[in-house]
Symmetry: C2
Subunit: 460 residues, 2 copies
Amino acid sequence: MQSLTIRFAPGGGPLYRQLYAALRAEIAAQRLSAGEKLPGKRRLAADLGVSVNTVDAAYGMLAAEGYVEAHARSGFVVCRLDSLPAPAAPVPAPAEAPPAPFLYDCATASIDTTLFPYKTWRRIQQDVLARAPEFLNHGHRQGDEELREAVATHLREYRAVRCGAHQVVIGAGIEYLLGMLARLLCRETFAVEDPGYARTARILHNNGVRAAFIPVDRRGMDTAALAASGARVAYVTPSHQFPTGVTMPVQRRYELLRWAEDGRFLIEDDYDSEFRFDTRPLPSLQGMDGAGRVIYIGTFSKSVAPAIRIAYMVLPETLLGRWRDEFGFYSCTVSRFEQQTLARFLQGGHFARHLGRLRVAYRGRRDALAAALRAQLPGVRLDGLHTGLHLLATVPCGLSPAQMERAAADNGVRCNALADYYAAGAPENAPPAMVLGYAGLPEAAIPGAAAALRRAWLGD
Amino acid sequence: MQSLTIRFAPGGGPLYRQLYAALRAEIAAQRLSAGEKLPGKRRLAADLGVSVNTVDAAYGMLAAEGYVEAHARSGFVVCRLDSLPAPAAPVPAPAEAPPAPFLYDCATASIDTTLFPYKTWRRIQQDVLARAPEFLNHGHRQGDEELREAVATHLREYRAVRCGAHQVVIGAGIEYLLGMLARLLCRETFAVEDPGYARTARILHNNGVRAAFIPVDRRGMDTAALAASGARVAYVTPSHQFPTGVTMPVQRRYELLRWAEDGRFLIEDDYDSEFRFDTRPLPSLQGMDGAGRVIYIGTFSKSVAPAIRIAYMVLPETLLGRWRDEFGFYSCTVSRFEQQTLARFLQGGHFARHLGRLRVAYRGRRDALAAALRAQLPGVRLDGLHTGLHLLATVPCGLSPAQMERAAADNGVRCNALADYYAAGAPENAPPAMVLGYAGLPEAAIPGAAAALRRAWLGD
């Protein structure tokens, strides 16, 4: 080969890297072509006035990347490289639409961040980190034993769920667990509530599962329609149907359990049962199940914070073996630091106290919102007040639900119409109600929000 | 109805709960039967010597649960309830087999927890919690902007990945992201490396995707076999093939990119590229791709800790729209507290320094292990030394790989044979190598581990 001319730049980094880059550029430009030998290391080092180590390192990098190959007798030889089209310049990020500015947030996914137990959480977090070596490596695939035990204890005491820690699976959000269930339960048709969470059907869909939409009446999912649907699994929210707020009475629960007995499954999503204000919480559907047909799922999104992605499911004994066979190899998706922090938060009684404070705060907010709506909107009908973090308001104002939603937005209030939660649009007999979440609405903002809704819907 | 006899127990909890439980038991036992009226509240209160509020609360609970119904004229009436079989007693947890005790952990999934940056992590974690209100509610669905920006910057600088933050998706582990990709890429056949991560094929399988196993030669995935497989997506580990340790040379990379140009995709798993000891890290395959066919994925499991479930993928612009349409509605699966902690750890330069320290520690360990193995096992051949956190050892000892694994376990060493990583058992020409991870093996334990392997494999 011809002699190489390399110009070393004083500020250009280590010499071996400069040499490597120069040689690579020669090869890419085919000034050093396939089959050609690189100069011997000692000779090149002498030519360039650098150490043999420098040349050695540069040749090593070229060889590791496949630009050259070491041959036993002839030293390093340039490899044949097919040329590729020049890489395209990276496309700049498209500007994302900024979130619309709302004065009043009545969406159902928000919480009041001022109620978060900062001090306790910080103290526990530090305790956990101080013991960190135990928690740095992979943990149990269903979630850390301490957390599963604490969750099982809480569910037994507060929700009459009958379970042991061995049945609990911790996961990063209900969406994640639901996707897992869709795949676990053999891609059968799932019955979902209509109206209901739109996401449930989408999650099922992109896990290859068909959703059958079953109407909700004033007792919850319609069991006759369920039986006719051919579904093998039903996803229900019996404590507080989302979004209608219906609590499923015990007779309907028995009907569902009887339906499930024949090799079918119920998924009970108990997403906000912690927030029951006027009566004690209902025992869970799972606790009434003697046949192992109910999968119970819940989340700490509303009771701690949405930012902490910790949800759980309780599998019946009948499904545990199948889950372990098919999903037991997955690592748990939740950070062990946060699992341990939450476990201690539960074990130390902090969670029960925190829930007590949340209930008082949210009940006050619900009472204030109900009073303000009644004062501002004559003839308003309020439903679903007894539990959860949202209510339904039906206002005789002559506007369609879509018009009401738009008018609310124009007046600074973010909220949804009940009609939004139907899979195929609201049926004609659906109540023209609006869904108003109040967890993210500070009490001081409530009179303003109600006045804005009056302007939006009654026009004065 | 007959008069009710209720015995209140002094330590039995609030009176209204005792009354509720007693009435519920009467209904369940059908001593109060369907259609029967409950006594008027005032009369029952007087009969029992309790306040009307107590009776009111108990009746309210029964009504909420559907045991009774309020009728306009006749007060509360008992509902018709079908009986159900008595619930089964909960099954006690089956005893789980305790993990086998190993003196020396040469599995590839462990890390050395003493190297974790406790002080910095704790300080940053506290900073984040002090600013918590911003981070308590739902964040961006692809992950927090700060973390995506920090990851993109890191990947551009250290791995020559060409990307912006808008292409990054944060998720709770590579397993989670890979499952998402399986569903995103339309359930086509995925080509996977053989030998390779057994989990990859299992994840694909339970997402409904067929895995085609493609042999790995000394340059990585065999492109002729790939072309013949009919696969539309190939999952590769070009920086450091797992478990063989092969680094894919640039020519083979070009072949793969050319294969992908025709509407196909490559998933580049760069799982441990941070740990390259003797040469600079190779630029990523993604950085050579001009056609938007490479999805780059990586994890902080090895560079920070497995307990922190944070992985990421960089989607090509060609896939971003499809991802947002189909998966954009999912909440990010990683806690925002930990996303923000990691973002600051990266932005503050702590991660780069931490990686530097890890590299020094792990290189020392690799050198010590290689020296100890060479001293203890005459004729040993070591491969895959230049990068990653494991090496391959081929020992001429006359034992089969399975026998070597068992003998190692009998002598207190946990390790796997290369043969374990083949989908359908090792082919006849596969090297009889053992895979020895050293990240979880403290340097002081290395002489003992090598001596134990000598006893296991050479019998003296």
